[in-house]
Amino acid sequence: MNDPMVHTAPKTAGVFAGRLFIYGLLILMVFYFLLPFIVMVLTSLKTMADIRTGNLISWPREFTLDAWKTAWGSACIAVECNGIKVYFWNSVKIVVPAVTISTLIGAANGYVFSKWKFWGSEVLFSLLLLGCFIPFQAILLPMAQTLGKLGLSQSLAGLILVHIIYGLAFTTLFFRNYYVTIPDELVKAARIDGAGFFRIFWKILLPVSTPIFVVCVIWQMTQIWNDFLFGVVFSAGGNQPITVALNNLVNTSTGTKAYNVDMAAAIIAATPTLLVYIVAGKYFVRGLTAGSVKG
């Protein structure tokens, strides 16, 4: 990296132009990625009259938060005109228990799959891994039937259950791959000292697990908050998560389209995951790559 040998090339005009080109291209791409978000924010702060006369990136003639207020509290979604706040809280009520439970179970599973291997456990792990990849279309119909039989169809509890079940493969994968890197000798030594299954987990693995808990919680939170398929299939009416409500708002065909309200609602829907990304981006990226490359 810091080998001076490589960098003894003279700083000619050609090198300078090359650097300029690279930076230019990088900045151009920054705009490409940021522009949709800038457009969303600008549009959400305009009045509809302003939107009809201006363009995507024109500066608002007057800034107004009306669209935000409408989106949050009074926009019409299906037959209800209470904005997206109800659905926002639905998503919170789904995410908190589903993330907590799936993460805890995943931690315990990962502990067994890495430190208490038994005959056939590797095969079981591989079979469980396949659960990360199945197209959920292949389980939707039986799940709808089952939730109906359990009296959970179109309820928040049903949706939480579904998210826990289909999150387990990923959470187990995260913890298993993390615990594999912790030396077995530590566990062996503790066993010789007479520590049992739970004590070893509690005293040896849990204290060093913070990073993987953060990765796993962020991954699960993002997945579940952003889920649309389960939400649209297994919930209805006032029990829908925010993604479904946003889709209904954007694709409603009644009345005049209020693009500013659509944009404000979309930003509200994006805020929690975006905040997590900004605060803990490092862990978010680690989850992305751990969940895919190490698959």
Partner: protein, 305 residues
Amino acid sequence: MTSITHTTSVPKRSLFDHIENLLPKIVLAPTLVAGLVFVYGFILWTAVLSFTKSRLLPKYEFVGLYQYLKLFTNDRWWVASKNLLIFGSLFVVICILLGLLLAILLDQRIRIEGAIRTIYLYPMALSFIVTGTAWKWILNPSLGFERLIRQLGFENFSFDWLVNSDMSIYTVVIAGVWQSSGFVMALFLAGLRGIDDTIIKAAQVDGASLPRIYWRIIIPSLRPVFFSAVIILSHIAIKSFDLVMVLTRGGPGYSSDLPATFMYAFAFTRSRLAFGAASAMVMFGAVMAVIIPYLYSELRVKRNE
């Protein structure tokens, strides 16, 4: 396989020890049962449904491959499959090219690399529904991009892909690429950082130009990353549902349908359960055809290590 289980020296086996030995399996049991029932069992159940003639409710009267024959003679299914081919190949190729380009550019000792990387990757934190909402507005045929270009002086500029049945599937590509190329960049950047410097330095000392070093040495050594990226992106493409639902709802007509939206339409809004199940099984087969070789190679590599 570790041998932890054999290192204990318990003099006599009590009931307590027995339970202690079973604990790992007890802890794992709920997940394994859930996996067996809700993943494998349900896939089997869907397969069974696809051999019946269930419509609104499951009815277990078997009709063999009837639904599959119906599916493969259904025009809408072929549109959905063709769209998946168009969307999938463009999505995979563009994401990889863009991701690789961005990773290489970012790997040139860029001063504000961290900030730029954060911006390239933030769309991955968004829901496809949010991304779709944003692009639906940008691509709006009268007030969006078209208006912007017209106001810049190109009065006759027209951009109506969102409502043009020949072009609607390409709007899904535009939004999908925007969402996922940053992620591919992250994969390639991790790959680039993992390359052993010494070969590159040797080539530099020999006077090889930077583009030549990339073309001849660096890019070929990223082959495993290409492989992973293709698999992950194809997998995302086959499962794509949200983006189409919010952007075009599969329309105009069913011109931008994908298998996932096709399955949803027939199984849940048109009440043709068995037919929907058949399409789900075909999707399942497609995903497995992509994933199983991948998992196999991943696991084999690990075993060889």
